[in-house]
């Protein structure tokens, strides 16, 4: 599953940026339960923890919630918890409820809040050709450098990374007319290439 993960692609690009900024890091994959013990240890021992994840039904994925429920409040030193939140849609507003939740979460885990880096548009990371994917995730390299420099996502540069809060009316019209047909067509093509034999709008449980 990891090879298909948008989060994984984003995190590795971000980490290269952090490395350039002189920061050392270790990575734990929370989608693999076998790594939970090591991830918990890392959370207890490290000064800074960064959790990257995709938006699931307006908030944190249930798997991540289960992991969070296993974390202790104790740390070996003052700790800061930051987040990288991404999702399929472009508009920043989509992430705001989750961001509210994340703002209140670190203190419940004995940490201070280091901000949330938010960015949308990640559906196409999964479905676009490799050269386009590399271009899409490149901005995360710069954000990795920024994190290395600032130590958190509380800076105006990190806030700006989210992009547009909502498409203005005229842009919505233009996107509907010019862009959505192309994007939805790419999804159809990707599905066919993946072996899908049904229309994407199939209703398998209809009577």
């Amino acid at each position: 599953m990891q090879k298909y993960s948008n989060t994984d692609k984003i995190v590795h690009t971000f980490a290269k940026g952090m490395e350039e900024g002189g920061v050392t890091w270790e990575l734990h994959n929370l989608s693999n339960r076998k790594e939970w013990d090591a991830a918990r240890e890392a959370f207890i021992n490290n000064e800074r923890t960064l959790i990257a994840f995709p938006l699931y039904v307006e908030c944190v994925p249930s798997l991540m919630l289960e992991f969070l429920e296993t974390l202790p409040k104790e740390h070996k030193q003052p700790a800061e918890l930051s987040f990288m939140l991404h999702g399929g849609m472009d508009e920043g507003n989509e992430f705001r409820l989750c961001e509210r939740f994340l703002r209140e979460l670190p203190k419940q885990l004995g940490c201070s809040y280091g901000g949330t880096l938010i960015h949308g548009g990640s559906f196409r990371i999964r479905t676009a050709p490799a050269d386009q994917v590399a271009k899409m995730v490149t901005p995360y390299f710069e954000m990795g450098q920024l994190f290395a420099q600032k130590g958190n996502f509380l800076s105006p540069e990190a806030t700006k990374f989210t992009g547009m809060e909502q498409y203005p009316w005229l842009v919505r019209k233009m996107v509907s007319l010019l862009f959505l047909k192309k994007v939805n067509g790419e999804f159809e093509q990707f599905a066919k290439d993946w072996g899908c034999t049904s229309p994407l709008g199939d209703k398998p449980y209809s009577e």
């Binding site: 307006e58 849609m89 559906f123 993946w194």
Partner: protein
């Protein structure tokens, strides 16, 4: 049809749940002892077998009932001011009810509906952020074309 997904099991009885709901004609599914895995975001329900989840567990029967439901009530415990993982897991697995394809609805970019709109309500226990849960119901319902039925303690 009103469908209730009770993740609290025997710690709340059927009569208590029904008393908290505006409509008394409901089907309650006790999910506490069911085998239900987390959604892993594999996208197969959108791109490989549209509408069918790749995970073969007890949620498949719930999906078949969701297709016939108008209103869905989630009964859940809370943690960190929000749903606990068992409650959130029920809603994360709802993805096959939507399509991969996107469009604008109510001024926002959203996934297109695979079936029909669903209204969503929440009955929760524990010290949660009421405003956050109410907003979560509104947003989640809007994404599936419906409206919030409210979040009640």
């Amino acid at each position: 049809m009103n469908l209730v997904l009770n993740t609290l099991g025997a710690s709340i009885d059927k009569e208590t749940i029904i008393a908290l709901l505006p409509d008394k004609e409901v089907e309650i599914i006790d999910t506490a002892d069911m085998n239900i895995a987390h959604c892993m975001g594999c996208n197969q329900c959108w791109l490989k077998t549209p509408g069918i989840c790749a995970i073969k567990d007890d949620y498949e029967n719930i999906l078949k009932k969701l297709v016939k439901a108008d209103n869905i009530w989630l009964v859940s415990d809370t943690r960190f001011g929000f749903l606990d993982y068992k409650g959130k897991r029920m809603m994360d697995r709802i993805m096959p009810m939507l399509n991969m394809t996107i469009g604008f609805r109510d001024g926002w970019m959203r996934h297109e509906l695979r079936y029909h709109a669903l209204n969503i309500g929440l009955l929760y226990q524990g010290a949660a952020d009421q405003a956050l849960l109410e907003d979560w119901c509104k947003r989640t319902a809007a994404n599936i074309g419906g409206h919030s039925l409210g979040a009640k303690l």
